[in-house]
């Protein structure tokens, strides 16, 4: 019985949050890694792209809620998501047209692109704060839990409860669908293949008649969709605040680099590695250990390796270790 309780506590406090957070990071890291693979620079504006997409979705959600449109048990934001994606696509294609294309034609060095993306980041950040303000926004509606802790306890008779939030369920399902669709697109469709070809060898791809502008356009559109979905899922699960999204940049980059920049599979693995380490290192293990250890060995302290405020330090630590020992990432990424 104690063993079962320990498993349930572990699932409730570590596994489920980490899986949801990992899916969100993985989607974010996929966007970073795609831009890196095709456009060959680290896009520092990615966190703020996510914020913009989420903001657009929130605005549509609020409008729908005021019109009385909803999805019943599911959050209305899912219905608003396509509009948010369209808005973000528009924004990214616009920034590419007026900002990045010039440098692409000049064949500027990657570091120049990174600096330009800093400027874009500033503007997007300002835009989001200008439109929706810097504060916290909640836009979750529908049913809160798939299984609530009390129901679970009543059902199983265990002392520990297991709660699965609707948003966590949606996050995982949405992430699986999106990743499957993305891999199908990259591996099976003509456009997806031309994107991979362009990423692998630009000159050869140009030689075989692939239109680079088209590849770039599709990349931005996919990135817009990924960023918006990642942002909305994160916002549904936690809450939306522009500065938090800016700060997500670090774990997202860490995920992409740990997995190997430019490698989509690596981005997903990296997202989960970072999420699981962050959650398990900042979790107070006292509860789980109390069930597992014999009475006289039970810990008095919280058995928390690091306080939650250091979660950035965890992703950063993993990032450093990977950079030191395997600079191309766990899965083979590009290293320019």
């Amino acid at each position: 019985m104690d063993f079962l309780n320990a498993i349930v506590a572990l699932t409730n406090y570590v596994m489920i949050p980490a899986i949801a957070y990992g899916s969100q990071l993985a989607l974010g890291a996929l966007g970073v890694t795609l831009i890196y693979g095709v456009l060959r620079f680290s896009n520092f504006a990615h966190g703020d792209t996510m914020a913009f997409g989420t903001m657009a979705t929130i605005l549509v959600t609020w409008w729908m809620q005021s019109m009385g449109i909803n999805l019943g048990v599911l959050p209305t934001a899912l219905l608003a998501l396509p509009f948010g994606i369209l808005g973000t696509m528009g924004l990214l294609l616009f920034t590419d047209r007026v900002v990045y294309r010039f440098y692409r034609e000049q064949k500027a060095k990657p570091v120049i692109f990174v600096m330009v993306s800093l400027g874009v980041m500033f503007m997007m950040n300002g835009l989001v704060r200008f439109i929706i303000g810097p504060g916290d926004q909640r836009f979750t509606d529908g049913v809160r839990f798939i299984i609530s802790a009390r129901d679970f306890k009543a059902m199983t008779g265990l002392r520990e409860g297991l709660a699965i939030k609707t948003t966590q369920g949606i996050t995982v399902i949405a992430a699986v669908i999106v990743v499957a669709a993305l891999f199908w697109f990259l591996n099976r469709t003509r456009t997806g293949k031309s994107m991979r070809a362009y990423s692998d060898n630009e000159d050869l791809a140009l030689l075989s008649g692939i239109n680079p502008e088209k590849v770039v356009m599709y990349t931005w559109m996919i990135v817009a969709a990924l960023a918006t979905i990642a942002g909305v899922l994160y916002g549904l699960d936690k809450s939306f605040k522009p500065f938090t999204y800016f700060q997500l940049l670090l774990p997202i980059f860490a995920s992409a680099i740990v997995g190997g920049l430019g490698n989509p599979l690596g981005a997903i693995a990296g997202g989960f590695i970072i999420a699981f380490s962050e959650v398990s290192i900042t979790y107070a293990w006292k509860k789980v250990l109390r069930y597992l250890m014999p009475e006289n060995l039970q810990p008095d302290s919280l058995v928390q390796l690091l306080s939650t405020d250091y979660k950035f330090a965890v992703s950063f630590g993993i990032l450093l270790i990977v950079l030191l020992f395997k600079p191309t990432g766990l899965f083979k990424g590009k290293s320019v």
């Binding site: 990657p110 570091v111 400027g119 500033f122 800016f246 302290s301 250091y310 330090a313 950063f316 950079l323």
Partner: protein, 440 residues
């Protein structure tokens, strides 16, 4: 018009902006010397930060976006050097903390030694894991009780180790040293890899430095802030009670309160200008020397420089440490100017990316450009808000009074700062990538 005249005119223009701010209250200008000198002082500090970044980016092409962290370390140094030692803190747990930190450092060193000396394989992994895990738990076992001992001492007012109680001017070089130490650690790991890896590594270290300063209350009281840090000159209150000062103020026809604030601000301006001039002179000499030419050669073509026998990674590390030290000095000066350390206010947009805008706008690779950009952009950073309010008042003048859109637009003007700075950065990068005062 030759170059020197043109560039002197640019500096004169910035000077004119400051003077106008002090003398007229037309449009965006405030019309008080108090505010004008405030802008000038922070402008001088920003110019020093820009000088540090220019050393890294302009001379050596290193992309450091962790300036906030080095600035914050400078601020921490002010607390550690100047504030009075907390009575009893060292016996309560201070020694334990130092021992724990030393143990932590030894664990890391041991781990590095094991990785270097032993052959790769299962045995190395096992020993490495045992050393790291054992070291961590030993560290926590010593560290935690020591920290709670220190933090229990009068937590409302003290609750930290306190400092050395030394004069504040000593804190500035100490800030530089602290930042240099951190830069050495991060440079040692991340230099030699690709340029955007260094960027991400520095971004991360800056966040971690801020997280440490916010949470480690024993160090600098964390988010409880340290206020009332000593100053290098007399305080306003003291001045207002000094009969000699009051007499001078009266003879100049100034109100004693105003005279005392101006006295303090002008003293800061003079001090900061002196530091800026010294650092500018040093950077200029560095740029002209064979060392500076070598740095630029490495920046322009690493492979060729390496073929000429230059140790690129070492030189990069050197310039990275130097530039970060300058940012640390500037950070210490800023904390002294504020008179308080508030870790909660450090924000990468303001303390890292704004400095980058300064360097790019001023002209990367040119020290004078960095200084000009520092003061000019700081002026605009302060003045974008009144400009935005003016613009929004104009834009919304057609809307009905009290309409929701109008209120929203007027309330949002504060966020125009970031937008404007991004726009300036993009415009300069696109149309004048060499900046206002280009590299020679």
């Amino acid at each position: 018009m030759n170059e020197t005249v043109k560039h002197s005119l640019m500096f004169a223009f910035v000077g004119l902006l400051i003077i106008l701010d002090g003398t007229t209250n037309y449009g965006i200008f405030s019309g008080t010397w108090n505010s004008a000198l405030g802008i000038l002082n922070m402008g001088l500090v920003s110019a020093i930060m820009a000088l540090g970044v220019n050393l890294q980016w302009g001379f050596a092409g290193l992309f450091n976006i962790g300036i906030m962290g080095f600035t914050a370390l400078g601020g921490l140094a002010v607390v550690l050097v100047t504030s009075a030692p907390t009575p009893g803190a060292w016996s309560e747990g201070g020694i334990g903390i130092i021992m724990a930190l030393a143990l932590g450092a030894m664990t890391v060193v041991a781990a590095v030694m094991i990785t270097k000396k032993m052959r790769a394989g299962k045995q190395r992994m096992l020993i490495l894991g045992a050393v790291l895990i054992g070291g961590f738990f030993a560290y926590r076992a010593i560290f935690d009780p020591a920290v709670s001992g220190v933090e229990a001492i009068n937590p409302a007012l003290l609750g930290s180790l306190g400092g050395l109680g030394l004069p504040v001017l000593l804190a500035w070089p100490a800030g530089g040293l602290l930042a240099a130490g951190a830069a050495w650690l991060i440079g040692k790991t991340a230099l030699g890899l690709r340029s955007d890896y260094l960027a991400i590594a520095t971004l991360g270290i800056a966040e971690i430095i801020i997280a440490v300063m916010k949470n480690e209350d024993w160090l600098s009281r964390g988010v409880k802030n340290v206020v009332g840090l000593p100053r290098p000159m007399r305080k306003e209150i003291v001045l207002q009670e000094d009969p000699g000062f009051l007499e001078t103020a009266a003879s100049l026809g100034l109100d004693p309160v105003l005279a005392s604030t101006l006295y303090v601000k002008i003293s800061y301006s003079l001090l900061f200008t002196a530091v800026l001039l010294v650092l500018l002179w040093m950077a200029q000499m560095g740029l002209k020397s064979p060392w500076g030419r070598m740095m630029r050669a490495i920046r322009d073509n690493e492979v060729a420089a390496e073929a000429m026998g230059k140790d690129v990674t070492r030189r990069h590390l050197q310039v990275f440490v130097l530039g970060s030290a300058i940012c640390g000095i500037a950070g210490a000066m800023m904390t002294t100017l504020d008179g308080q350390l508030t870790p909660g206010t450090y924000n990468p947009l303001r303390f890292t990316f704004l400095i980058w805008v300064m360097v790019v706008v001023g002209g990367s690779g040119n020290n004078f450009g960095a200084v000009l950009g520092g003061i000019l952009i700081w002026f605009f950073w302060i003045k974008v808000e009144p400009m935005g309010t003016g613009l929004m008042n104009f834009v919304t003048s057609g809307l009905a009074e009290g309409s929701a859109l109008k209120t929203h637009l007027l309330n949002s003007t504060a966020h125009m700062r970031l937008f404007t700075m991004g726009l300036i950065l993009l415009l300069v990068l696109r149309f004048s990538p060499r900046g206002l005062i280009p590299e020679k």
